[in-house]
């Protein structure tokens, strides 16, 4: 029984291995790249548009609306990072209905790489909007004694992000594998359908959490938050 697609090795030359994780990540990157190129080849601004452009616009606008609802007021600045994160994970998880495909997100190395991207992107966006001094000062909020806890929190949430995605995808494959032994007729299909839902929800969660972390690092106006909380109290 394979715990992760890292153990499926297709080609080996000395220490250089080509395992299923790398192979399917490349295939996925190719699919995303070529489809993006094809869909944006002749973009029209008139009312008559191709159906591919319409579907692409739906995806982009939905992601933009979601990013805005997280609390990032200028979603276009974060769309490139957050949107591609979501699209990559979602397509990696959804393609698992194709036979012979092993989701690269079921490998801890992929999910850890994605979590490291978030780990680097959070200070990057934070410093870009608030300046280096202000961003570093945010680690000593609300008191200076919280500095080590803030740093530990930063590290542990990266780990949690990676293990959450890995565990969910790995357990989906594992459950199907175990059910194939116990009840090989209909149940694995049901669990595969559930796995598709889980994959989509996990992609959404990864994307939302990355957005929330970035929003927390880039939030400048503290008075704004206070006003909002006052408003909520009044409503209640």
């Amino acid at each position: 029984m394979h715990l992760s697609p890292d153990e499926l090795i297709y080609w080996q030359y000395g220490a250089v291995k080509l395992n299923a994780t790398i192979l399917f990540t490349w295939v996925l990157m190719l699919i995303l790249f070529i489809s993006a190129k094809l869909f944006t080849r002749n973009i029209a601004s008139e009312l008559v548009r191709s159906r591919w452009q319409n579907s692409l616009e739906i995806i982009v606008l939905t992601i933009e609306q979601q990013v805005k609802s997280i609390g990032l007021n200028q979603p276009r600045a974060y769309m490139a990072f957050l949107g591609s994160l979501f699209l990559f994970i979602a397509s990696a998880n959804l393609l698992s209905i194709v036979p012979g495909y092993a989701a690269p997100t079921g490998s801890l190395s992929t999910t850890f790489a994605l979590a490291l991207c978030v780990f680097i992107a959070v200070p990057f966006f934070g410093i870009r909007t608030r300046g280096l001094r202000n961003y570093l000062a945010s680690y000593t909020q609300p008191a200076f004694i919280m500095l080590p806890f803030n740093i530990i929190g930063e590290l542990s949430r990266t780990l949690a992000l990676a293990v959450r995605l890995f565990g969910n995808m790995m357990s989906g494959g594992m459950i199907i594998g175990i059910l194939l032994v116990i009840a090989p007729f209909i149940f694995p299909v049901v669990m595969a359908a559930l796995g598709l839902l889980t994959g989509m929800v996990q992609a959404y969660i990864f994307f939302v959490l990355a957005g929330v972390y970035i929003a927390a690092a880039t939030s400048i106006e503290k008075t704004h938050v206070k006003q909002n909380s006052n408003k909520q109290i009044n409503i209640n």
């Binding site: 715990l3 293990v163 959450r164 565990g167 969910n168 790995m170 357990s171 889980t198």
Partner: protein
């Protein structure tokens, strides 16, 4: 008993206990979250789309606690580092 038997036995028992205890908390939490979301939806049906979205995110985050336990028990069962260490030693020596 030699150490391999002890390690195998303890690993299997610990994996079972990890899953058992580790799924109690998330199960209770998910039940409470769904109950709260249902009553909120009954009070405000207009906000059901927002509630559902937040509920799904919350459920998956709660579930990840159980998933951590699952990952740990899978490591104990299939890629146990202590087990492989002693296997290596016994074949060498």
């Amino acid at each position: 008993m030699d150490s391999l038997t002890i390690i195998g036995m303890v690993s299997i028992i610990t994996a079972g206990i990890t899953m058992a205890i580790g799924s109690i908390g998330p199960a209770i939490a998910e039940g409470r979250a769904v109950a709260a979301a249902l009553s909120a939806m009954a009070q405000q049906p207009d906000a059901s789309s927002t509630i559902t979205r937040t509920l799904f995110v919350g459920l998956a985050m709660i579930e990840s606690t159980a998933i951590y336990c699952f990952v740990l028990s899978m490591i104990l069962l299939f890629t146990n580092p202590f087990w492989s260490y002693f296997i290596e030693n016994s074949t060498r020596g």
